[in-house]
Structure formats: C-alpha cells, structure tokens
C-alpha cells in the first residue's frame, strides 16, 4: 500500500518557479496556460492494508513534516 502525497505552494505565496516554467511554456508556443505551480510529490510505502487506519497518521505527517501549512497546501490518497 502506498500513500501518494502532493504538496503545492499556497496561492498567496510568491512562486517564482511556477512563473518561470509558465514563461518557458509560452516561449515554446503553448497558448492558453493561465498559471503554473511547482510543488512536490512523495510516495510513502506502508505496511498492511488498512488505509483508514493510516489516514490520520498520514494527515498528521503532512501537517507536521511533509508540508509547512504557512506556505503550502497538501492532499493525499492511500491506495
């Protein structure tokens, strides 16, 4: 079983990486890209098959370690 965690910068936080990637896309000729945000993706291997039991633990780890709630949002799935 795996927890798949996606962390993205909060909208209010300056994201120069996202802006730079967006500019590159425009330079490549892609039209209609309105915004880009660069975040992180983590995969955490978990023992057992009880996803519900893992959920609060992963939630806590997201809050305390994987992300900084001041500057980042997160979401995850366990599958």
């Amino acid at each position: 079983m795996k927890a798949k965690i996606v962390i993205t910068p909060k909208k209010a936080v300056l994201d120069p990486q996202g802006k730079t990637v967006q500019a590159a896309l425009e330079q490549m000729g892609y039209e209609g890209v309105s915004d880009v945000h660069v975040g992180k993706y983590l995969e955490v291997d978990l023992e057992g098959d009880d996803a519900e039991a893992w959920k609060p633990k992963i939630e806590e780890a997201c809050h305390k370690l994987f992300s900084n709630p001041v500057i980042e949002d997160y979401n995850f799935t366990i599958e």
Binding site: P9, A12, V13, L14, P16, Q17, T20, K40, L65, F66, N68, V70, I71
Partner: protein, 241 residues
Amino acid sequence: MHFSVLQFPGSNCDQDCVHVLSGVLGQQADYLWHKEESLGNTDAVVVPGGFSYGDYLRTGSIAQFSPVMKEVKKFADAGGLVIGICNGFQILCETGLLPGALVRNRSLQFRCEHVYLKVPSQNSPFTREIGMEKVMRVPIAHGEGCYFADDDTLSKLKTNDQILFQYSSPDGEITDLSNPNGSLLNIAGICNESRNVCGMMPHPERASESVLGEEDGVKIFEGMTLHFQGAPRRIEQDSAA
C-alpha cells in the same frame, strides 16, 4: 555568559559564530551537537547558518525534529535568549518559535552579497545596542530567504514592533530595489512576541571584525550579553556623552 552554538549535519557557520562569541566578544561559547537532550548551563542559544540535513524536503524542516530542538523550545518558552541566523532562522520558523516562513528567493538565484539593513526597533536584546539612525552593512548568502507570512501575521508583527531588520538602501530607505529576495515588507529579521527569540537571514557573525571590513554585526551579540547581564544600554550612554 555561556553561549551554545548548535551543530546539525550540514551546519557551516557554527565555527564563525563560536569565533566571534569567544574570540571577539570574550564570552564562553561551545558547540552543542543536535542529538544532545540537554542544554546544560546555557545562557543563550545560537542556531547557526548552513544547510541542515542538506535542506532536504524544505529548509529547516528536518532539523526541527532533532532532539536538541525540544530543549531549545522549552528554553525559549521559559524566556531564554535564542538567535537563529540564516538556516537558523528557517529552523526557528519551522519549529514554530517564530511566525511565518522563508521561501525561494524571488529571483530563483542564490544571493551572496552585502546588503544594508535598517533597524526599525531597538526594543529587543538583539538590537538594543544599534543606534536608531544606524544602517548596518551585513552579508547575506541564501537561496531561500524570501520571508512570507499571511496578512494577519504581518500586521501583528508591525503592531507589536517585532520587525527588527529590513533590507534598505544605504541611506535607510525601504525600497524594492534594495530587497534581495522578495521578502514581504523587506523583512530581514524578526523577533517573537516575548522578544527573546530572534531570526535573521543576514550573517552578523561575518561582519563582526574590522579586518573583515564590517563590525556592525557584533553589536547584536553584544546586546544579548549586556541584556543577560542586566547592564544598561551603552548606546544611551554614548549619545549622552
């Protein structure tokens, strides 16, 4: 006065701090490995610059869980003096001892240069020896020094006089041009509400000796020492003289 300078895997300004505290300021300064579970008879803690844990995940994110940081939190909560410099500032924010966070520089560049700092508040152990009109010249060296906090936090910082250092022009003007990393309100350093914990991105330990071209930085450590000793402000005596 006994300073403890923390050492994490990847700290690299620890020796500079010990050199300034003991060699220049004449105080006792010892290294404290991050696995330690006691601060001993420490009077003040320095969280030095560097790249603790290789900056993995987020700057300062792993270091906050080192055993010694539990003790630093207790020490700070009890009123002990703590200063975090560069990566140390990032660690103190991650730990929650200071509000806000440091994110990637607006330019995406690692900036290594001298900057000018205005010191808007002298009301702290860290800035008490720096004159009102003084503009400090201190080096920075960071890739993630852009200070961010939400609007509520920023207004609290202003109301409580917690902004201690702001990037400025040489004559003390707060301008966008003098902001090297995109920090909100040009913030280079802050303190907590109780004013015993300070974090700053610039490196005062690299600007504390005339041989290095700048000595302004030592006033920060001197202020901590005099505060701890209960000594009156020297700066007031100077201006009266």
